[in-house]
Symmetry: C2
Subunit: 451 residues, 2 copies
Amino acid sequence: MKRSDVLVIGSSAAGLVAALTARMVNPDKTVTVIRRENKCMVPCGIPYAFGSLTGTDQNVMPAEKMFETAGVELVIDDVVSIDRSAKVCRTGSGEEIAWEKLVLATGSTPVRPRWLKGCELDGVFTVPKDKDYLDMMKSSLAGCKRVVVIGAGFIGVEFSDELVKAGYQVELVEQKQQVLAQAFDTEIAERAGDLLKARGVSVRLGVGVSELIGDTHVHEVRLANGDTLLADAVVLAVGYEPNTSLAAEAGITITSQGTIRVDEYMRTNDPNIFAAGDCAEKRDFVTRKTNTGMLASTACAEARTAGMNLFKLSLVKTFSGTISIFATALGDTGFGIAGLTEAQARAEGFDVVTSTFEGMDKHPGSLPGTHKQLVKLIVGREAGVILGGEVVGGASTGELTNCLGFIIQNRMNVFSLLTSQIGSHPLLTASPAAYPLIQAAGMIVRDTLGR
Amino acid sequence: MKRSDVLVIGSSAAGLVAALTARMVNPDKTVTVIRRENKCMVPCGIPYAFGSLTGTDQNVMPAEKMFETAGVELVIDDVVSIDRSAKVCRTGSGEEIAWEKLVLATGSTPVRPRWLKGCELDGVFTVPKDKDYLDMMKSSLAGCKRVVVIGAGFIGVEFSDELVKAGYQVELVEQKQQVLAQAFDTEIAERAGDLLKARGVSVRLGVGVSELIGDTHVHEVRLANGDTLLADAVVLAVGYEPNTSLAAEAGITITSQGTIRVDEYMRTNDPNIFAAGDCAEKRDFVTRKTNTGMLASTACAEARTAGMNLFKLSLVKTFSGTISIFATALGDTGFGIAGLTEAQARAEGFDVVTSTFEGMDKHPGSLPGTHKQLVKLIVGREAGVILGGEVVGGASTGELTNCLGFIIQNRMNVFSLLTSQIGSHPLLTASPAAYPLIQAAGMIVRDTLGR
């Protein structure tokens, strides 16, 4: 029987990072990763394989090379059961692998909603992290002209934009009143929606889908308002479900949201079994409530925590709750969010004040390539603690959003932000006298002091 | 006699922000700014007025509009003396202005080194923050072909690059062995030097200038090694001196470095007189030593502290020492630094460990427009506290450097950085599994744990 001190199931973001971290922290332990797929996709790169990139081959994670360098063994196989008392996993090919510590990084599967009639028709696709499926999907799409994308979360929005770029006629249908409605406050989401329209996506908001119609192949989408849209293909982007059956069958506790229950160290109810990534429970950094966001960046942070705590608990830092930090881009415009939106904070019962500063991402704004830049801060009124922030800007949007992430994780307040030091450069940032994070903090201090 | 509760002398970065902050915090107080110049330059934009921009008109700070919006009065005049006991300033035009609180934001003047023979010749320019001078300089340069730039700090490097862009034949001469040698560690500075050469600047390192030669107009630069360079014009970029004569004549304490002595609240030895920006003393955030860096971003942070502490001390945050955070760009490559370099930290006596991670600023790296991205961390060995960081990358370099600034100001260590959450997006950031700040932290944890 094969033995590995650490066995990691899955090799997307969480599995990769958990394995590498486990090796890094425990150079004397053997680490093995077992996964189903021959090649792993860069998860957030998948939409771009349909437009900006030539295909999925350009979107393969260099996991094998990283494993080799780090001394992690890779097994391509499927785990079919976990024997917790024997501390052994059985695989589809009939092998057994014994482990001392097990990390479940089993990920998630796109939802194909049973309630939606016709969703099993040919030409109706989901977006799994599966290269073979995506390759099949891409070649099927090659013969199509009209594509209807259902669901305007990040995947739906990015897919729509990329498919338009690739020459398709795209209609994006969303039940909520905005695109990216779960991620951003309305006034920010509206900008994304307007931009998406300007880029050629036909966006239909506030309307659900009642049926997909076709004989064997989809040819029409019927909306809840009775309208019908012609469709050569349909992309379902209506969410992902955590893959937890393996864990559940082994008697590991599953939360009511369907994720694997974990503590602050990413341990399941079995102290030798950890979970990280889409399959694992998340608690919001601010509200402490269960959070269902599935992000590769969150998965990596969880995986680092899991990897560091396998053999002894690390006191340096637990995983102190999930901050959703993410960004997307439409053309040269970036949209980013860290922490709570205003709507989320208010719904949660926080007494918040907000401010929005809009300036330029270079200075002077007359420099070529200058992009408008907006920061909205969401701040607890009492102590001025920063609960969240949203960004719209140019190429620096992702890292400006990460600045907000560090600000929130360090529990900074508007006063300490206002007197923080930043660096600036004409071609790379806003003016130091109009730096958006500090200007937005100043607006709140001014309004608070002026009460 | 005119009266203003707050009088601010100077209206570049520090004066502008001090006045606006004073009004923001004290909406019931009158605030007046007095300055010499009709129009103020965006300080860090000056080099770009000679290449990327059509001229200085595109580089004017919109201070007047900001003052009007905020209710700050602007007086164009020159302060010639400060009467501290009467709390009155006298101006060049014979006016008197009485104040309750005075902010000195008198800035700095480029050094024209007396020891350098020929430095008063026609065609030898410095780079002051003076629109009229810069306009005169730009029209003089119009008839020139060969320009020698002396000094390869930020101003010299940026000027050289912009002048090449504008079609000049540029030789950059620097006594130190690297360009940007005070700002970056050698291996980073070398990259900037190589790039500058590749962009067409002739770079001469490790050699001083002994004399500028000409009858009335410079036509040759003699180097310390005996070489001579033909020159139609010379740009001196050898540093700036704080403007403190007004303060010194009023009996305000000046440090041995020639700056105005200030406390943590930016107060001079006179509790009613504050100073901020290039003219004011700076203490390093880490070493607590006097720091002579003159940056608009630092000036703005000091000015905010001064403005917040004028009428009552604000306990929310003092100005806890200067972190030099800055960035520059050569073409599409950004260079950024926050905190101490390795060389500075070692010279100071810190026991440091460093790590350098090099990856890509998008993911997968096959995406169009991907730029290499490097982060070097400088870390105290004992507690893993992050003392500094250097960045080389693409368009996100400025904000990635600002992430480092927030990390240092919050006194994070490599363990908390390693388990931090970040956000990522294919088009906007590195991969979450290879995010440079976290990867570099991980390398140090690995090496430290592996000792």
